[in-house]
Amino acid sequence: MESLEQYLEAVGRHLRGARRDDIVAELRANLEAQLDDKQAELGRLLTAKEMEDWLKQLGAPLQMAARYQAQRYLIGPEMFPIYWLVMERALGWAAMIYAIVSLVLLATGTPNAQAVVDALVRLPGVLLWVAAWVTLIFALIEYGSARDPQKWQGLAEHAASLPKIDLAQRERARRHGKHKRTFAHAVAEAVFGFLFLVWLLLIPQNPWLMMGPGAALWKASPYALAPAWITFYWWVVAAHAVQLAWLCVELARGTWQKKHGLRHAAVKAIELIPLNVLLYAPGRALLVLRNPLRDGAQLGATLSGWNEGLHKAILVIAVLVAAQIVWTLVNQVWMRGRDGAQ
């Protein structure tokens, strides 16, 4: 009886949540009844050896407890092909980006054998990180789909349940850019969006990530970026983080298939904010001199020309973005009107 108690206690240790005591109590009742039967049949108590054999037959406590768990895998068979596809692509891209970055670093630094070896040694770590993030994202999706399968039905679509192809409709969708986003596409957007955000956040400390070898030249030049660029940078980071969060919410809610025109317009509108920061920079100064006292007389006129040119370029970009927003909104209103008429 003592070893049965030990066995039940061990099973209980491997169980989680409020059901633990209930499961152990039920298991105790069943096993005790079984033990009574065995002993009644033999006409005596089981010996220690017989008891041990019987408990072995029941399976290890961990195995017994695991059978009571609803989900025993991180990524299920339905999700696995998509996970694998995204993993392959993410690892491929990560390896390529890492190779480019490493080559730039080697080219701008002092190339030597040790630097090459260091870069190669770091590669598995980088790939492991990417794999871990992709796995984490999919594990969360799997967890969400297990809790609310209705929202994730799109994943289980198979050939028989796919909608019939309407070529005319497809052509219309192509013309209006109204494609249905696939799950793999949405997840890839989230993964690459996350990598892009990391890249953005690394730029202030590592300007070469954006400028490449030009970063060294820029550092040596007499010009520097005006403080407005710092505000601009944080707005860009915030805008991207908002987009990424939005996409994650869509994935969590299972609404990734919808590609909202209005959302597109809203995202574009957010992009206008950092552009405005630059447009309304004090004195239209986007570039400043690192040492105005020393270089002011010589480079002042050139600097004004640069600032004027940059201001005009940003104004053109802002107008184009605003036109895109208007176009998207008009398109939405027109399509809704047409859908309503049909």
Partner: protein, 135 residues
Amino acid sequence: MYLTAYTVCHTVCFVQYEETMTLTENLFENLRLELRRGCLTLAVLLQLREEHYGYTLRKALAARGMEIDENTLYPLLRRLEAQGLLTSEWREEDKRNKRFYRLSAEGAPVLELLLAEWQSLNTAIETIRQQGKGE
């Protein structure tokens, strides 16, 4: 200490047992388990048209030729209950508290559908088998 030794011992014994099986036996065992998995649910639902607690259900099924391990049957009962196919209640019997299960009102039509599916599968397999014999 005892539990660690027990778990290691069990794992080693299990692995050794697995290793002594031939490839064909192993393959057959996997296929057999796969084949049985769905049948077990059907058998349990059928048997639970009468009320049982875990152990008596296991005995009743074994008496009718359907042996099920404890670590398969007891968790299965929980899952079927969570799916709404069974109802359960704790009750005292022979001075012990036991959890009694029974087919639920929602489970009854599902059982009928499963039975129909089972019969249709049986017929199909038999037809295919007979066809193979005739050729």
